[in-house]
């Protein structure tokens, strides 16, 4: 039961941070693809949809838009259009790294970190639950804690040398 819950939690957390590639839009449009590719003019550093420049000021925008519209007219899927864009302009044109090769790490690691964090919190909770009130961590620990309290109290009352 516990194992099942742990596996379910793992799959949920990993799933929460998976790339959107699995979601395929049935009818790609300039707008839907434009939010997934960057304008490479170097001046706006935004997605194609958000580029505030005029086509006349931004050659890349016009060129990228034309390629997307051509692919949309040809009835290509969004994934195929994104592949075409990456082939024409390099992988940098994609607004998010593709989930393959080393770039898979970009997607997996946040979910993995979330999971590791959860394990740490669970371990901490279990450890804190075991520790009896007042602490029985051994003589050294008690001494250190008492000493810290004593020193703090002393510092409040002990006059500093003038």
């Amino acid at each position: 039961m516990k194992k099942g819950a742990a596996i379910a939690a793992f799959l949920f957390l990993l799933g929460a941070t998976q790339p959107a590639i699995a979601r395929t839009s049935p009818k790609p449009s300039l707008d839907s693809v434009g939010s997934k590719v960057y304008c490479l003019c170097g001046g706006c550093d935004t997605t194609l949809n958000d580029c505030p420049h005029l086509p006349s000021q931004c050659g890349n925008r016009a060129e990228e838009t034309a390629l997307i519209l051509k692919d949309v007219r040809e009835g290509k899927s969004q994934a195929a259009i994104l592949q075409d864009m990456a082939r024409s302009y390099g992988i940098r044109v994609l607004a998010a790294p593709p989930a393959q090769g080393f770039n898979l790490a970009a997607w997996v690691l946040p979910g993995f970190a979330l999971l590791v964090g959860l394990v740490i919190v669970i371990l901490l909770v279990r450890r804190f639950r075991r520790r009896p009130p007042g602490g029985d961590q051994g003589t050294d620990a008690i001494d250190a804690r008492v000493m810290a309290a004593v020193e703090e109290e002393m510092s409040r009352v002990a006059p500093l040398k003038d």
Binding site: T17, I91, P97, N103, R129, R145, A148
Partner: protein, 672 residues
């Protein structure tokens, strides 16, 4: 004046160095005399940096273009308020500004602790002034804003001043730019003080509740400024950049969000230490992490290692920051390890379902979010180093990775405060959660029936209604209880409830602010965008608005030339408003920028941009965005600041306790 400014910097550096040495020696020898001299050196450091700032402002206001910084970032026709903003518009000036704010924070820490925290203060001064030494050195030796322009003539250098300067970056000539960077800097810089207190408590082994009590307030203030700065930055992006959005997951935006999230984690987990004596290592680590991320954010903003819309701040000072970050990491981690024995928990966790574990889970998600944002921000650098391939990590990545974590946090924002310390019984859970869950379910169903199908938007509103019900329920229950006991009116009971526990209820108000911001964010799912070329008489329809271009005009001011499109707007067929978006061309910097006009309401913003003229036809290119619920993002920000201010006010109970503590302390001192 250039010489005066430079003298101020070098004298400031000398005083900061002295404060570091005197702080350490004063602390080590427990000498009040030496500590006092460290305090005076800190005040002198502030005075000298203030002199440098005044010198630079004088040079800016008197159009002294012999100064290289003034020549590059200002011009004669720049309006007076923006001349003040020139200070932080470029690398050199903004580093001076950073140093100045730090020196003010250091001085405030000294002045407010002249009779308190005497054991900690020498080291607090040493660490805070140490940060000051780094920034003053950087400002003086690497990015000096007092460099003079000169021409080489016949082997000799002769002073040179161009007739006019290049002018302030057009995107910075916006009224909120007068306050947004100030807020951000107050946030970043202020995190140095809790860090200094944390380090001082590690050095002096005073790791009880005292440093936590002191540090909490010193963290809340910069945390509030940083939050306000982030919201104002979004407001600037929305109003100036002309892309119809306010958050683009730009590396510099991420850089400001990360220390804010880490600071949020600290402000929550600190309560576990105060109440239960637990999470001591964690808390001191969070203080260090928050400061580290503040410096890292400054490093990202300044170094240009990642591509960003904030490219105006790029330079070659990155390596200095990397060394400084390494020093912070090594010193602080070493100190934490050396003091592990003093950082042990005093209590056990009584139950998994308790406020303590709620805070632990909240910290888990906050830190995972920090990691995800950090990872996404630096991944292009890592990918380039490993694969030699440049990749882009933009909004689709962050929306996918960070938004689910944000929603989990939103859930905890409501659930956390309803959990009791030590142990929450099943009955208590049922009693506290039934109404909020019922309200959220009703809201969720209504949203679904009315066609809200976007998962993130639906979740934001569903969870937002749950959190709002939880938080407002706390206010209601508390006030009703007071009313029954004291016979006050409901309003009076509510006021007294908050006044008696400002920290708790101020925190709840901050949580309400978060809910309101999420409501605004949910609106993004329903954004409408249209673009058209328009000649006078042409019309375009966007949602329930019909826009008609009446005429195109142009004009000239000393600072810029402009083109204006006069646009009449009809809403549902009725005359609604007239808008005049502009395209400006700034003469000094030779840069164009669109002056966006926004007709804002609580329901939606009509956002109109004159993007320019179509070169073929000469017609106006008009972009229109219909952005629902954006106003709630700004309102949420204001509520958060208000809540933080309330939480900062000492409550009546706190004031009484402080008086008792002070009286006890004085009695003990007299006896000693």
């Amino acid at each position: 004046m250039n010489q005066v400014g430079s003298v101020g910097l070098i004298a400031g550096l000398a005083f900061a160095l002295y404060a570091v040495v005197a702080g350490i020696v004063g602390g080590k020898l427990r000498s009040l005399k030496i500590t006092r001299s460290a305090e005076r050196a800190t005040l002198a450091f502030c005075a000298m940096i203030t002199l440098s700032v005044i010198s630079l402002e004088f040079l800016i206001y008197t159009n002294n273009f012999n100064n290289a910084f003034v020549a590059v970032h200002s011009n004669r026709d720049l309006s007076l308020p923006y001349k003040f903003a020139v200070l932080w518009s470029g690398q050199e000036g903004s580093l001076l500004f950073w140093t100045w704010l730090l020196s003010i924070y250091c001085s405030l820490a000294v002045l407010l602790n002249r009779r308190k925290n005497r054991q900690l203060m020498p080291y607090v001064i040493a660490f805070a002034a140490g940060v000051g030494v780094f920034f003053t050195s950087l400002t003086f030796f690497v990015a000096n804003p007092f460099r003079e322009l000169s021409l080489s003539s016949a082997g000799a250098l002769i002073p040179f001043a161009p007739p006019d300067g290049n002018g302030l970056e057009p995107a910075l000539q916006y009224r909120y730019m007068l306050i947004h960077p100030v807020m951000l800097y107050l946030g970043y810089v202020g995190m140095a003080i809790p860090f200094a207190f944390g380090m001082a408590s590690l050095v002096t082994k005073q790791l009880g509740d005292n440093w936590i009590r002191v540090t909490r307030r010193w963290t809340m203030v910069p945390w509030m400024f940083l939050g306000a700065g982030i919201i104002l930055g979004g407001h600037w992006a929305y109003n100036v950049l002309g892309w119809g959005g306010y958050w683009g997951w730009d590396p510099v935006e991420n850089a400001s969000l990360m220390p804010w999230l880490a600071g949020t984690a600290f402000l929550h987990s600190v309560m576990v230490q105060e109440k239960r004596g637990m999470l001591k290592v964690w808390n001191v680590s969070l203080v260090i992490l928050t400061f580290f991320l503040s410096i890292f954010g400054t490093f990202l903003t300044r170094s240009g290692i990642v591509q960003s819309v904030h490219a105006f701040a790029e330079s070659d000072i990155g390596p200095y920051f990397m060394v400084f970050l390494a020093i912070i990491a090594v010193v602080s981690i070493t100190l934490v390890f050396l003091r592990l024995d003093f950082l042990k928990s005093e209590n056990k966790l009584d139950s998994v379902i308790s406020r303590e574990s709620g805070f632990m889970f909240n910290n888990w998600i906050l830190l995972a979010l920090v990691f995800a944002i950090l990872w996404g921000t630096v991944f292009p650098i890592i990918s380039k180093a490993v694969e030699g391939q440049v990749v882009t990590v933009g909004p689709p990545f962050f929306d996918k990775v960070a938004v689910p974590m944000g929603l989990m946090l939103l859930l905890l924002t409501g659930a956390g405060p309803l959990l009791a310390w030590r142990k929450t019984s099943f009955e208590s859970l049922k009693r506290n959660f039934t109404v909020p869950v019922a309200i959220a379910v009703v809201v969720g169903v209504i949203l679904f029936v009315f066609g809200v199908r976007d998962l993130y938007a639906w979740m934001s509103l569903f969870l937002g209604s749950f959190v709002a019900a939880c938080v407002l329920g706390e206010f209601y229950k508390g006030a009703r209880t007071r009313q029954k006991i004291t016979g006050e009116t409901f309003g009076g009971a509510l006021y007294n409830l908050v006044a008696r526990n400002t920290r708790r209820y101020g925190g709840y108000i901050v949580h309400l602010g978060i809910v309101v911001i999420f409501v605004g964010l949910a609106g993004l799912a329903f954004k409408v965008h249209a673009k058209n070329v328009m000649a006078p008489g042409d019309m375009m329809r966007v949602g329930h608005y019909l826009l008609r271009c009446d005429r195109l005009t142009s004009g000239d001011t000393p600072n810029y030339t402009y083109e204006t499109a006069d646009i009449s707007v009809l809403k549902n067929g009725m005359a609604f408003t007239e808008l005049k978006p502009q395209r400006r061309f700034y003469k000094a910097s030779q840069q164009p920028i669109s002056h966006v006009v926004i007709r804002s309401s609580l329901a939606e913003d009509l956002y109109v941009v004159l993007a320019g003229r179509d070169p073929g036809t000469g017609k106006a290119v008009v972009e229109v965005f219909l952005n629902p619920l954006v106003a709630w993002v700004w309102i949420g920000g204001v509520i958060m600041v208000l809540g933080t201010l309330i939480a900062l006010v000492p409550s009546r109970v706190e004031r009484e306790m402080a008086q008792i503590r002070q009286a006890q302390l004085e009695a003990l001192e007299e006896r000693a």
